[in-house]
């Protein structure tokens, strides 16, 4: 495989991972109108749970199965006792509340799991590599991540476009009062959506754990990148999140290769350009 193709593969693969994290963020915003800074912290929670449970059970898949309900529950509790009271308030308070939540979750992680850095081994049957070029191989697990991401994207699409719950969710996004008037329990619906969003972020953290590492404060960086992805794609649009993630993944990879001096700034520059062209993002609704 040529150098250029391999770099493209790197970028696309990175994009898949970003999509997985960003989709939950855009979902929560698009439907509930809530800005959630703690999204990255959920990602971290997922990664730590995956590491800890994989360590205990010896199986990553078992760990993911056990951790997912925990993260959903965490999302539900936070919605029930916090976020719920902020829907009608200015976004400012959501920012502040979830900012506080980051501090709490980060610190809770340190209390529970300490400050060490951890690696999570990939399951044996995914631990191999594929030869790409004379000198380079590619880990199968990374490809598995990509496949998982496509799966999640498809599942989300089907859930939202094709199921009854998805229909109500979509309606709730635009006509909250109408859906309530039709007898749906909006409060419960929102709780579910928030739980789902939190679980998506955590799931990304779990799936990425073997390819990444697990370390304190790991959510911070991913949060900002998710923001960039969501803003580029258009807030609330899953399709947009996918396009944004690909764009950011590829731009970041080629930024490193072609413009090493400004690598840290590339994705932000891309974002600024997209916004100058379309202030509402690639797939955003016009305000």
């Amino acid at each position: 495989m040529s150098y250029f193709l391999i770099q493209t593969l790197n970028g696309v693969q990175y994009g898949f991972l970003l999509f997985l994290v960003a989709s939950g963020l855009t979902l929560i915003f698009g439907i509930m109108g809530v800005i959630n800074l703690a999204h990255g912290a959920f990602y971290m929670v997922g990664a730590y749970l995956a590491w800890w449970l994989a360590e205990k059970t010896g199986s990553l898949f078992l760990a993911v199965l056990m951790a997912l309900p925990v993260t959903v529950l965490l999302g539900l509790v936070i919605e029930r006792f916090g976020i719920r009271y902020l829907y009608k308030r200015d976004h400012l308070y959501q920012v502040l509340f979830t900012y506080g939540l980051i501090l709490v979750l980060n610190e809770a992680q340190r209390v529970l799991f300490g400050n060490d850095v951890h690696g999570v081994p990939a399951p044996a049957w995914l631990a191999g590599t594929i030869r790409l070029s004379e000198a380079q191989t590619y880990p199968v697990y990374r490809l598995f991540i990509s496949v998982t991401c496509v799966g999640v994207a498809a599942a989300l699409y089907l859930l939202i476009q094709r199921t009854r719950l998805g229909m109500v969710i979509r309606a709730g996004a635009t006509h909250r009062d109408m859906v309530a008037a039709l007898g749906f329990d909006i409060a419960r619906l929102f709780m579910i959506v928030f739980g789902l969003g939190a679980a998506l972020a955590a799931f990304a953290g779990m799936i990425a754990a073997p390819a990444n590492t697990v370390y304190p404060g790991m959510g911070d960086q991913i949060l900002i990148l998710s923001f960039v992805v969501v803003v580029i794609g258009g807030i609330g649009s899953i399709k947009g999140a996918f396009a944004g993630a690909m764009l950011v993944g590829v731009a970041d990879t080629f930024g490193r290769v072609l413009l090493p001096q400004g690598a840290g700034v590339t994705v932000y520059a891309v974002m600024a350009l997209v916004l100058l062209w379309r202030p509402q993002g690639l797939f955003g609704r016009t305000a």
Binding site: G100, I235, G264, V265, A272
Partner: protein
């Protein structure tokens, strides 16, 4: 629009007087610490202009503070120029220009977009300094001297003197307070508040809403630059962390804790939050846990902040007997 009640005015005057007298009784360390608090109060006040009056929730405000600190560092340690009368306007200008560019891109959007975009664009500036070895990279850089505020060989203010620096910061804080009060009383200020209340209506009345927002953004950015100038002169240090979004979040916290939409709120908030953080840190290594819970509680329970407490308490009192009667 600040139209202060008599009680508020008296309290404000007393507060500023107490700050003016503090160096006479305060111990050196606390003079230094209070100076820092006043600088952060100034910074938060500039953010309040956006958040509390113009309705622009910026999560990237620290960038303007930060670029000013690097301007000071650049003049003194890269160019070898220590003339404060050159550095100060330059720091304000750099902050204002950055605010103009970031603002120009950001104000095309509203709501959550605005929050996210200001955050991301500020991070871009953060990474610029974080990645450039010329600026000391992640280590930041020491500033080898304080800006010189001298005219014709006569030193007007000696910034290396802690007490004089304290009064400089106080003077800046009071000046900014008065300046913003004037601004908010002006037609421009009223228009800002109108935009926050009902943007669409302002537009159809004939206000060029984008222009008002941009100007407010630049004014706030320049004031943040003033705070950055003071902080880097005080600490003689510039670090990328000054530009980071945690600093922006912290400033937002000060604004809301104190009470947004009141200019004295951020001052109150800065004193309470910084002194409290100082105290939390002495209690436990896990003080960030306490701070996080505190922040969440403020967001949920004290939307009007400390400045709104008297009103809330009064409202509760009024309601209580009614409930009793019913």
């Amino acid at each position: 629009m600040p139209s202060y009640s008599r009680v508020t005015l008296v309290l404000l005057a007393l507060g500023f007087a107490a700050l003016a007298l503090f160096p006479l009784v305060g111990e050196t360390f606390y003079i230094r610490f209070f100076t820092k608090i006043m600088i952060y109060a100034l910074f938060a006040m500039s953010l309040d202009l956006l958040v509390g009056y113009a309705g622009l929730v910026s999560l990237g405000h620290a960038a303007f503070f930060g670029v000013a600190t690097y301007t000071v560092a650049g003049f003194i340690d890269k160019l070898g120029i220590a003339d404060g009368f050159l550095i100060l306007p330059a720091a304000l200008a750099v902050a204002a220009i950055c605010a103009a560019v970031i603002g120009w891109i950001s104000i095309r959007t509203t709501g959550v977009y605005f929050i996210m975009i200001t955050l991301a664009l500020a991070q871009m500036l953060y990474y610029f300094f974080n990645d450039q070895l010329y600026w000391g990279g992640t280590d930041g850089m020491n500033i080898s001297a304080k800006p010189l505020l001298a005219l014709g060989g006569f030193t007007l203010v000696d910034l290396s003197n802690r007490v004089q620096f304290y009064y400089t910061a106080l003077a800046c804080l009071v000046t900014a307070f008065v300046m913003l009060s004037v601004l908010l009383r002006s037609p421009f200020g009223h228009a800002l508040v109108g935009i926050r209340a009902n943007e669409g209506r302002m537009r159809s009345l004939g206000y060029d809403v984008q222009r008002y927002k941009l100007v407010a953004f630049v004014v706030a950015g320049a004031l943040a630059g003033l705070a950055g100038f003071l902080e880097s002169s005080r600490a003689t240090f510039a670090t990328p962390a000054y530009l980071g979004w945690h600093e922006s979040g912290h400033a937002l916290m000060i604004v809301i804790l104190g009470g947004m939409g009141t200019l004295y709120g951020p001052i109150l908030g800065a004193f309470v939050l910084l002194l409290m953080e100082d105290y939390f840190a002495t209690l436990t290594e896990r003080w960030l846990l306490i701070e996080g819970l505190f922040v969440m509680a403020v967001a949920l329970l004290m939307p009007e902040g400390l400045a709104g407490l008297p009103r809330r308490i009064a409202a509760l009192r009024r309601r209580a007997p009614e409930n009793g009667d019913g």
